[in-house]
Amino acid sequence: MILEAKGISKVYTGKSETVTALHDVSLSVGVQERIGIAGGSGCGKSTLLRLLSLQEAPTKGELTLFGRSVAEWKGHETELYRSLQIMFQSSFHSISPRMALGEFMLEPCVNFGIGTKQEAKERCEWWLSKVGLDLSVWQKYRHELSGGQLQRLALARMMAVGAELVLFDEPTSALDVCNQARVIELIQSVYEEQPFTYVFVSHDLGVLQALTDRIIVMKEGTIVETLASKDLGLAMHPYTQQLLAASRG
């Protein structure tokens, strides 16, 4: 297993109230498996991704990534991030406003020491052309590209790093229908080109069905149902049926 979570919970304690964002969540992801996490706003999807990417620590439970527990990864996060990458809803905010996109593309390859700078550049350029972006983006800044182009650029960057596990945090939800379809197609073709494991979070079951092997449905911080993407029509839980109906319009 590349990722294993056993009974993880996340509780946020404020001055006046305590919020349980995740409660007793267990899941496991095998090598090159494609997992979808569905649920409405505030169901804990993004919190789960923050825990899986070690941005936050779980309050309770065991989390294992690449065979090592969270405690074992402490202080070795850079080593982990060589194999684990995350793509956010808006890549616009993932790029520093004062950083040229070429520099942004190269940064992880250089930091992780993936080949020489020239090799890293060639690798990035190859992936840029793969996602349909012109090499002229290299000198541009984030405000000069559209949302869809930036998402494709972020995808190319992760592929250039050669991440084994990618966490997608609703990467299509801020895009128009055409760009959504393009990004979905790209993820599919990139997966065929260079298979990797991914966890894809979305509120849209249609998108998850197209992109994943298995879908986990979450509600109020807990997993309510897990089913194979092809069996989505056989969903038993009323909440899953509700989401399915919503995605079908």
Binding site: S53, Q55, E77, T78, Y81, R82, L84, Q85, I86, F88, S90, H93, S94, I95, S96, P97, R98, M99, E107, P108, N111, F112, V161
Partner: protein
């Protein structure tokens, strides 16, 4: 410069004018036609003439030379205060925001306490204890001003730490130093520069005010506020003694405030 020329010609003009204006005073000692303290009782309170372009004061000293020399002193004091307090404040604010939460909390409560005191009264009290001199004005104002920079820097860095691109940078293997150098400094320097420019005008007025109430630069040093202090008895008979140094302060502050506002509005920083 080229980008600014394309985006905002007026702002570029104001920046160049400010550089020219300040340069005039910073090199004032070389440009002044007379010694600012050279008295000539035979030429007391003279109006504008070819020899004395801005007239003379009650001791026959050349007003233009005194304003040019005074500008050098005023700008030197203001720039020293801003430079010392901003360096101290930015370093303390930056260190606090990078420290464990309890040190950050303790430090920021201390800063809040310092900011809670009325800064002008504290500075006046300090000058009262230390005595009026250029060094003591700088020390007194630095003692109160650094906290503002520390507070602003701490808050800005804390916001920046949570920015999504910093999270992405961390996940791209960037070290803390790399994040500070490539993300924090480029993204924060503009805002801090804006604050510094805003404070510059304010500091020039404060220093002049101290001299005007007699606790600043002492005569015969021709600082702008000190020139105004000497001229107050001649408001009716020789108004130029007040008008010209007053205009020098006014133009400097207006230029600095204009640049700061234009930078803020246009988001050029």
């Amino acid at each position: 410069m080229i980008r600014l020329w394309k985006q905002d010609k007026l702002l570029l003009g104001a920046i160049l004018l400010t550089i020219l204006w300040m340069g005039l005073f910073l090199f004032g000692s070389h440009l002044a036609p007379f010694d600012p303290n050279e008295t000539n009782l035979g030429a007391r309170l003279q109006d504008i003439s070819a020899t004395h372009l801005l007239g003379t004061d009650q001791l026959g000293r050349d007003v233009l030379s005194r304003i040019l020399w005074g500008g050098q002193d005023s700008l030197f004091i203001a720039i020293s205060i801003i430079a010392i307090s901003s360096i101290i404040g930015i370093c303390i604010g930056g260190l606090l925001s990078m420290s464990p939460w309890y040190i950050d909390e303790l430090g920021s409560r201390c800063i809040d306490m310092i900011l809670g005191f009325p800064s002008m009264i504290v500075a006046i009290a300090c000058i009262g204890i230390l005595g009026p001199s250029v060094e003591n004005i700088i020390i007194s104002l630095c003692l109160t001003r650094w906290a503002e920079y520390a507070k602003i820097t701490r808050n800005l860095v804390n916001l920046e730490k949570q920015a999504q691109y910093v999270v992405v940078a961390r996940m791209s293997g960037a070290s803390l130093w790399c994040i500070i150098r490539r993300y924090m400094i480029p993204n924060l320097r503009g805002t801090l520069l804006l604050v510094i420019i805003q404070h510059m005008g304010d500091t020039i007025i404060t220093v002049a005010s101290f001299s005007l109430i007699g606790i600043g630069v002492q005569p015969p040093t021709p600082e702008w506020g000190a020139i105004l202090l000497n001229a107050r008895d001649f408001l009716q008979t020789a108004p130029w003694l007040l008008i010209y140094p007053g205009l020098a302060i006014f133009i400097t502050v207006v230029l600095l405030n204009y640049i700061s506002d234009a930078l803020q509005d246009g988001r050029h920083v």
